[in-house]
């Protein structure tokens, strides 16, 4: 799968990228803020977009909304990889039709979690 990982914390980027590529065998593209994430998401075709909740420029929810409004053609599924955990936040994610994985995530089960969410959405 071709995945866009939008995350501002370089350590988490390193770990998530390693897990996704080494365990899941995915092709990972990284964006370090909301602006870059939106730009890349609109310019390229991805199979999945992983969005951090809080990022510079645009927060994850904003990126998701703009992507869904502006993206021409088929849209990639979106999963929030967020430290936010309040019921309000989760219901916002759900209302956008996105999945949600809470941080800190378990690197061993991240890929199977993603697969589960994608299978459920399909």
């Amino acid at each position: 799968m071709k995945i866009l990982l939008a995350e501002d914390d370089p350590n988490i980027v390193m770990i998530a990228k390693m897990v996704l590529s080494k365990v899941g065998g995915h092709d990972v593209d990284v964006a370090v803020d909301g602006g870059e994430a939106l730009h890349k998401a609109l310019a390229n075709a991805y199979d999945l977009i992983l969005l951090d909740g809080m990022m510079p420029v645009h927060p994850g929810v904003e990126v998701c909304k703009r992507y869904q409004e502006q993206k021409q053609g088929p849209q990639a599924p979106i999963i929030f990889l967020s430290a936010k955990s309040s019921p309000e936040d989760i219901s916002t994610f759900m209302s956008l039709g996105a999945g949600y994985i809470q941080k800190p995530f378990d690197p061993k089960s991240l890929c199977s979690c993603i697969d589960d969410i994608l299978r459920q959405a399909a």
Binding site: A16, S85, F105, P107
Partner: protein, 452 residues
Amino acid sequence: MKTLKAKINILVLAVIGSAGFFGFMSYEMDRKISYIQSLAVESLSLRDAISDIKPEKKNQEVLQRLKAIKSRLKEPERRRAASDLIQAYNANNRRLFYTRARQFDKIERSFFKKTQIAFQIARKRLKFYLFMTALIPGFLLFILFYYVNVGILSPLQTLSSRMMEFLIDQYTFRFSTPPNNEIGNLERTFNSLAQKVLNNMDELKALDRAKSEFVSIASHELRTPLTSIKGSLGLLSSNIVGEMNQEAKDMVLVAEQETDRLVRLINDMLDLAKIEARSLNLKREWSSLRDLIKKTSQGMQGFASAAKVHLQVVEPIQELEALMDADRVQQVITNLISNAIKYSPEEGIVTIEYMPLDEQRIGITISDQGKGISDENKALIFQKFRQATDSNNHLVKGTGLGLAISKALVEEHEGEIGVRSKLGEGSTFYFTLKQWRVRSTEKDQRNSGEAA
């Protein structure tokens, strides 16, 4: 400022004054009428007395009587007629006496007529005064009544209903133009009170916002580094970045377990902060306890098996529902079951049971066969970060917050939570919910299902 008090005082005084004045006048008139009547009666009797007198035989007694009559008369005309009569009597002139007697009678008759006229006038006046005694105070009372009603009672009624409006309508109502009297003062006071309440509420809201902002920032700031730590350890322990020797593996396992504990601690603390800030917003609905407990115990099954503990559910025959926020009650039951498992010996049995306590309350109990809790610890363990006994198994280390959270959640449901236990004989944790009912829709649904 024309106050209502002044207006009402003046009116009350006017009612009393007018009633007194016209009452007094009526009384005076009544006395005058009696007096006039007595004059008329006297005049009649004088005429009778005079006509009885025979002047032929001069008599001292008669003379005395005539003098007495004269002395009683006040009007000069009548006195003169009387003294003329006495003179004629003294003169022993019979003819003159009769002429004078006729004269006297004529004057008395005209006097009597005058009294009758005066009587009529006086009676009319009496009627008038009596009428005024009723009319003027009555009229003033009517105005007073009007002032009390329109000026006081209905404004008070409006005031109280407006205050209710203020309460119900999220504190928005204020009086626009209070009148210039006592009621107006009340409305002005209410307006400033309302303003104060609104200011305080703004402050409280700002405080609340700051608190939840703090919680959300803290949760982000704590979870971000933990994500890196947990991620790195996970990558190490799953050999993704290379093989480690056994000692290194053990070290990493400890680090991983403690990280997980830290994550739970942060989750619990944030949860507790939210509960304590009352920003929980329970979504209370009727939902099935059977479903909830089944779901929860199934969720705990893995943990129980790993600890070699048996879970068992005892439930009433009827399907019961409780008025609750099912997610939050599940959190409570999960906490209690997880404790029971943690503090159970191997092959121990954890029993989950629920039954109505009375018409309203329903009790849920979670019992274990662990080492129990001493009396002095019973109260302590519901406090934050209080841990009494070491867990039997080290599968999951506690945070000391589980029971504090459970207590807060149960109390938010207006229920009670507690523990019955003796050292060495296991513990039974229980909590209550405020309202239960037998699930009625089940049958109905089946019936309508068959009908369809």
